[in-house]
């Protein structure tokens, strides 16, 4: 289907959606469907896929299609689309003319797709912006489990993103894939420049760019049901850190060199 046809189909579908009864009146909660609803396609079918830095939730539901209801569709955020999944128009010459191919009295399938994406994490380091050659530089991330709320088929739909893997590239040819995002030296109760699970030691002077990508394990919950895992992970890059690595010497100074730059040892 070319782009114009697709757009036309969506526009027409949205028009039909606006004429249909609100989906909440005809739908059951997930896990609460009768056999008649399952067999007749009136039970919501919801699934999720990792796509484009987030998760696409897609749902479909059949409707009786009596055509007697009025309005009620929520078209916000590219709302539900009606898929004319019903059989094609009858070939019976005596059948009523169906000019738009969307039978007002036939069953229809409502299809809805929504995209959910997590907020990216933040990469941090200490010392901030510099590293001492031969000593540990501590990298850590600010990335927490997050729940993104939305709607699908007119019902509540949530996607939960849990950070599970951290990929660091340190700019010096080394990289690490870790199961922790790390934390500050203080939070770990250790001294500055102590090694941590996420620290890295630079061997040479230079300026380095550090990149961090965090993998999130996604799950979704539809209409207040149980959390269901989505296959795959969402990989999201964080901010880039640019640092300078250099030597350090220990010297005795008279006072704070910032306050008294000409003081002894400064």
């Amino acid at each position: 289907m070319d782009r114009r046809k697709l757009l036309l189909a969506v526009v027409v579908a949205l028009g039909v959606w606006a004429l249909m009864p609100g989906p909440t009146a005809a739908m059951a909660d997930p896990g609460d469907c009768t056999v008649i609803q399952i067999g007749s396609g009136a039970c919501p079918n919801v699934g999720g896929d990792v796509h484009d830095g987030g998760v696409d939730l897609h749902g479909s539901i059949g409707t009786p299609g009596t055509g007697t209801g009025a309005g009620g569709g929520d078209n916000a955020n590219g709302g539900p689309v009606v898929d004319p999944g019903a059989p094609p128009a009858s070939t019976d010459p005596n059948a009523p003319i169906n000019r738009d191919e969307f039978g007002a009295s036939g069953p229809l399938t409502i299809v809805d797709i929504r995209h959910f994406h997590p907020q990216p994490g933040v990469d941090r380091m200490e010392p901030n912006g510099w590293a001492v050659i031969g000593l540990d530089t501590n990298f850590y991330s600010i990335a927490a489990k997050q729940i993104v709320h939305g709607t699908l088929l007119g019902k509540s739909a949530d996607v939960r993103f849990t950070p599970v893997t951290w990929h660091w590239t340190y700019g010096d040819g080394h990289s690490a894939t870790l199961a922790t995002g790390g934390s500050t030296w203080k939070a770990q109760g250790i001294q500055e420049f102590d090694p941590t699970p996420t620290s890295h030691v630079y061997a040479e002077r230079g300026t380095y760019a550090i990149d961090l990508t965090i993998d999130y394990a996604p799950e979704y919950r539809f209409a207040g049901g149980d959390w269901v895992a989505v296959i795959g992970v969402v990989s999201l890059p964080t901010n880039r850190l640019t640092i300078t690595a250099g030597d350090a010497q220990t010297v005795l100074v008279g006072r704070d060199c910032h306050a008294n730059p000409t003081g002894p040892g400064c």
Binding site: D32, T34, G39, A86, P107
Partner: protein
Amino acid sequence: MLTLVLTAALLAGCVPSATPVIPTATPTATPVFASEAEALAAAEAAYKAYLKVSDEIAHDGGKNPERFSEVVSSAWLSQEIDSARQLQASGRKQIGDTSLKRVTLESYQGSAHPAVVTVYGCLDLSQIHFVDAKNGKNSTAPPQTETPVEVALVTVGDASQKLLIERNGPWTGANFC
């Protein structure tokens, strides 16, 4: 040292013993079903009875949904009645019968009434389709061949082993059918 120990032991023997524990008959709850296998068999039979009633009502286009009261709990009955009324409003009826395959036990809590049995099963919908109740023309294509379902059943009363459908729905995890 040995003397001290023996003395302590002898003194201990002189101390009046604590109030003797008299064994009493503790009430033992009789399980509703003697085994998990028995609970599973009862659940499968109950679900098949439910499918039979569901098929009958769907064949009739959703008419007289109160027939469900024989096979579902009072808590689930309204769901069935709403579902049947939706079907009736759509002017469609079901052709063919559903069937159940590969029923397995998820859990069984039956130390006392009401017992709760939860099972997994594969709902075979390949033999059904829906038609316009008036002209008999096909309304929907046959649905997915087998749908995984999770079903909860409960006993009624204080002594019955009869199970009723308490909750039914498609399994949203990995498809085991």
